[in-house]
Symmetry: D2
Subunit: 365 residues, 4 copies
């Protein structure tokens, strides 16, 4: 089931960039949860194109329909089917891609794997597929908030070589701080520089990537299923399953590989009657299991592969050729990826919450 | 099934550090494969303690027994059960850990999750669990070598702040180059510096981490199952499921986030009648699917958590206390992790090979 | 994933009886398969209400929409999303069921499990859910026909106490013979008696059950995955996952328990250069694996639970009460279950075909 | 993972009839459960050969070793590895089977599927594999007994054409009644007739089959996961995954297909403040979910395939030949299958208990 994610809270996405619709089926949602389409829509609105002048100008309403699993405003425990009709698709912009492989896109590998592909807008490999993830993540977020006051906050710390200065951010940026600028960096001066850089590369027909940081608080100790389904392993998979991602690091990450153990270890201390670590280089996870501290991780995104420039490539007949990028694209996908990262984190956490409950909380011996 | 990995080539590991044995069941292995215990043993020997003077001096033979699934020297298609009896265990060295949580180990989180734990040597969270992974990986490696001449080569590029100089390595280091030094870095001068650093921190009762690079060649185009089971996503999960790992990056990784699209994209060109990219910042995977180029990735390991020093911690009664590290430990686990990284890569690749075959190669319409 | 079936050819159904739509996502379909909506529609038309005067007179077009996974008339390997909008729903007929549990329906158990339910028409427990199964099964049937000339034929052998006489049927009834009467029994005289009995019980506000036999030919030796995913085990699960089923027997079934081994064993003999059994009490499966002979099994269906009579029951407040059946129902669901049984058989066979290919056909050692 | 069963309480069996050992890994067992090897041994002793003069005289101690997952007498939540060394194997008795396929055994289909097989004693297809199931089931039974006072009782109701008379049994036979005779039929007169019949066919070199009934009480309402993982569907799969089984029926079963709805429906009534059905033709499951009434089902077993007679067959070279059965076999496997049926029922119920908890009991909205 390569298009399903999660063992107990399972989401299955479907749909192509230029197909009639995209959607998701959410299986395993706890029953009796109040749920309105608006709560899902608000997250889709954070993700959709056309939000600002630094993202693609495509206008897609991305309006969600709830087709099952909710009755009189509450979940029933049955699968929740969510559907978003497609709107502003200009397939003709992709005619050239029928026969030519866009560099660093999935055109060639889909052709190699399946022997056949929907070339329009990347087909299944389009980031439009993430609509289903965000919709499902909105439900997961709500369950987590009700169950444990879990808060998930993602935001940009880097675009190209522009980086938030060390110590410049509050310990847990607010949603308002993140959403204050279209680039979703909660540090205003850095955000301004990022925006300028994005506009600059766009006007050159070029693109840039960046880094998203995600912080999560309110996760109780005990989530994570060693040895293979460690919490950080499932987070890593979730993030690397997103288009354009190239790296994941949790807690001290790659920088931590340059510390000595005596500098890196997180000493335990009792604080207000609870076990805490007085530093948090572990990133809230030890031995694959949450320890109650804040979970934080970074996700690296490569620059957008679509360039409004001429590039070398080959065609389906096996001849060298050139391709001129067309269409309406994000010169930097990272700002719109923020709600997607949050959604995937929510899916991982809720699934682990349910798995933990199954094994550890039902029997009291 | 948190102790199982892989959908079609499925391995299930079991066993605790100081239990009577550890082992693995391999389900889904293709039948008729010639397989001898010695082929598994050779990989276990690369992983076991006591190999050199920079790793733990524990003496464990780690001798594998093949209990099922192999008949007259060939696999039958039935599950292969592999078992390694434990030897040189000194549980008494761990008496203090019964009540005290070692900092940056899994002691506290296992207690929090399960309400009960085998404290001896970390119990289930011990890296001794990876014996089963290496044994299963040896089988996967052999199948891959027979099926597609796939070669997997991992080695150290960094210990603490000692890094292999850019351009210093051959394009695909040989196994002999890697195994030439106990630190498993194929650059002799860097290896010597790494060894010196490890001895230095050991004598100070301290520890260091590092980075493993893994290169894989011979993978055909087409492996990987979008959208969630992208090849890099499953590699990321595999690597982050290993003890002490903090980061994963594929292809250009985090460094690639600082390039522009025009610098990062990999142009396609026909080479000897086959589609190739003339650079490989994608790391051999595009859109979650292998493109036939070399796959390469980095894995970051934190410094060993066990220190032969006094550290602050708490005990199971909820009181602040101190803990003095004892026992025989690796001051740097990274050299012994090399065969484990290779094993996990092999498990991911073979599983995807089989999944690809199931969907794409059986029917010719 | 309780709403998903199959490990490699995975179908996920969603939707409630009186919701806006029902549907299915098919994940893992081989690419490059020619597929038209009409091929799916033809199977849905066999299942839908209002086909004849012995089934429910509800008029539902059950028109399928293909929303993804098919491009220019061929499957792409991406998930196929199929949707059927609801039509002729009269929810008001179910107002009384909001508070009262219909005997031998799922009303009480859904309330007990989920604490909340969509009471209209049985909600998720309605047989309307099987639309998704039939749609997915139509695709599986087509793949099987292309891959191996597999034919699946189900039909009624019993309604109430009316049974097809021994030896009365041709060895493999044709589709035309089955579809010749609305009761889908290929023996005309028995069919006539069945129809009369169904009309008789309907006029009495009562209902009857029956037995479906399913025969499958063209399955090659080798399908089935011991020890747990034996082919007959997955067929049994598939059939018992259908509403109203109470029993499954393969080959000689329960009657075979009354034979001696010397009467029951199927001797092997070479026939036209191939291994055959000269009897087939095994039902085409031995040790959980197909042996190349015809697979056949029976499925028992209880009488329809909805009666147009007054029945004793309790209400959600925990008081004894009575309930008068209303609405438009099938006095016998078995004829409309024929395409559903075929669909589930197809799903099982195709999934096993793909699983077999993954483990056994990719490597030639 | 064809050798694994269960989604949350997952058992993986391994081992061949004449291999050095058989075993099972149990993953997902709740932690802190008191567990002693003796509790597992008692169930293995019910299953092992040589218990009486009507089963195979092979002497196998089937002594279980607990290799992991239990520490100081309690489960830790880590996988539990159980191993049984093989003893009294006489492989030479099987030399002839290397080249000849025993009729109605799995010899031919294993050869067809895997292209290679361990012919000794049926290899992987041997019922010796069920040792792992019984061992795992013993743990599941214990958890169920602690969690909900669940009792599972299986026994024979039929051997060949000898059947327990209607109404002859107590409503829930005791374990002592079942174990009173080696044939495990709790009706003494019928048991005596069964024993006589088994001895009679054995002396003729022939064999017989029979039927096991299983009753389960103490299951709360709410277990079962529609629409595919209905409780009866998973029970059906569990039973049909056992060697030699040909049929499964739940509640009224095939006999119920001959009743009218007015005769078959189970009216609800309040009894001592709880919802009950005043009849139980549903067999304790409605809509795929337990309703709190007793669950009961029948499993049909064919006669033992091994006969001490000459039978027609073919050999691996594709020539017609004959085979004379040898070795020590059960002329009727059904009595020894009783603890196996109970074990599989326990595995299904516990898995569903945990799944229910995961979705339905963790959040209180």
């Amino acid at each position: 089931m390569p298009n399903s994610f999660g063992k107990l809270f399972t989401v299955t996405t479907w749909g192509e960039s230029h197909g009639p619709a995209v959607g998701v089926v959410v299986d395993g949602c706890p029953p009796r949860l109040p749920l309105a389409a608006e709560e899902i829509q608000v997250e889709l609105d954070r993700r959709r194109p056309g939000q600002s002048d630094i993202v693609t100008p495509r206008q897609e309403a991305d309006k969600v329909e709830v087709l099952s699993g909710v009755f009189e405003g509450k979940t029933t425990g049955a699968p929740i089917s969510l559907l978003v009709r497609s709107g502003d698709a200009r397939s003709s912009a992709y005619d050239e891609m029928r026969d030519k492989f866009r560099p660093s896109h999935a055109d060639y590998t889909y052709e190699a794997k399946y022997g056949f592909r929907d070339h329009r807008g990347g087909g299944r490999s389009s980031a439009r597929e993430t609509i289903g993830r965000v919709a499902a993540g909105a439900i997961a977020k709500k369950v987590l908030a009700l169950a444990g006051a879990v808060e998930i906050r993602a935001y940009l710390t880097q675009v190209h070589d522009i980086v938030v200065p060390p110590g410049a951010l509050s310990p847990f940026p607010t949603l308002a701080e993140v959403e204050a600028t279209p680039v979703r960096c909660p540090h205003p001066a850095t955000a301004a520089a990022m925006i300028a850089r994005i506009k600059e590369v766009r006007s050159a027909g070029d693109s840039v990537g960046g880094v998203i940081r995600c912080q999560i608080r309110g996760v109780p100790p005990g989530l994570g299923e060693p040895v293979f389904d460690r919490l950080e392993a499932d987070l890593a998979k979730a993030m690397l399953s997103l288009p354009a991602t190239k790296g994941f690091e949790i807690g001290s990450g790659f920088a931590g590989t340059r510390l000595k153990g005596s500098e890196h270890n997180d000493p335990f201390r009792m604080v207000e009657g609870r076990v805490h670590t007085i530093s948090n280089r572990s990133g809230g996870i030890q031995g694959g299991i949450s320890n109650g501290e804040e979970i934080y991780f970074n996700v690296g995104f490569k620059p957008t592969a679509t360039l409004l420039r001429t590039q070398q490539t080959v065609d389906t007949s096996g001849a060298d050729t050139e391709l001129m990028g067309r269409g309406r694209h994000d010169p930097c996908v990272v700002p719109r990826a923020v709600p997607i990262v949050e959604a995937m984190a929510a899916l991982v956490l809720l699934d682990h919450w349910m798995r933990h409950a199954a094994q550890n909380q039902i029997f009291e011996f």
